[in-house]
Symmetry: C2
Subunit: 159 residues, 2 copies
């Protein structure tokens, strides 16, 4: 599959999450050969989970893989990745992270680049509208998901 | 509970993991008031999981918590945290990470410090011996767990 198809799956996952009453962030992990390795969405509400975010859910649903499987792989995600998901992409040596939007939240993009990962931000309005809607509907769930008491727009390192 | 008790739980978790045939890394998350929030161990082998490491398993087993619950909390872990677990501790604003050993593997300690988290390394021989034994017994499982094809001792950013 191409980038457009990979990204479309992440959006589909976000929409499923929203329909389930959850945090609407979706992700898809696609290999260098264009094969879908795994897809998933945030499961905080659905599973009471602190670690199943979009990107980590896609990794989890990809199952156990050798390091070579992640080589030159792309993580498609509807929202700028939080610090945990940033670290997960670094751990597995994913080469590229394609992000729907970073207007509602800016995560670890600078650190991804610092660690040699290509970052592409699409500025997708559909993703931004869905997150904006969710945050206005359930601000406390969203704050909990990013480990904050009040809304923040960025958790990038100040350094 | 005090630090000694918190760390002992992480070691207990690592030993349970080893007995189950898994990657022997354990963790315990303890609140500022000394309450155990959650404990867990790496579940790569047991659950075919790519994201249930020691620290993330402890976070997952702590359930959904508001940001305030993590304030001044300590993550006890038997091994230097990988990039994903490093990011998970940063995401939730954990204040201190107490590490059994970093001789078999050096993870994101420098980045934790850069993000304002206190890092304590105990240099615990028991932890180091258990990891060393596991790595020599199942090197391919260990490499997979840290996203590498061959053994590396450090994944710290070169920068
Ligand atoms: Ca905070
Ligand atoms: Ca690598
Ligand atoms: Zn995340
Ligand atoms: Zn880890």
């Amino acid at each position: 599959m191409n980038d457009q198809e990979g990204f479309a799956i992440s959006v589909e996952e976000a929409e499923i999450g929203y329909q389930e009453g959850g945090v609407p962030i979706g992700a898809a992990l696609v290999s260098s050969h264009g094969k879908l390795l795994g897809r998933g969405h945030n499961m905080r509400v659905q599973k009471g989970s602190a670690i199943h975010h979009g990107e980590t859910a896609a990794l989890e649903n990809s199952g156990r893989l050798p390091a070579s499987a992640y080589k030159n792989a792309t993580m498609f995600t509807t929202l700028s990745p939080c610090d945990m998901c940033t670290g997960a992409c670094i751990l597995y040596g994913i080469s590229r992270v394609v992000i729907g939007e970073n207007g509602t939240f800016l995560g670890g993009e600078a650190y991804l680049k610092q660690r040699g990962i290509e970052v592409v931000v699409l500025g997708d309005k559909k993703c931004q509208d869905l997150m904006g809607k969710f945050i206005s509907e359930k601000p406390e769930v969203w704050n909990e998901d990013i480990g904050e008491e009040v809304r923040v727009h960025s958790k990038e390192a100040k350094a």
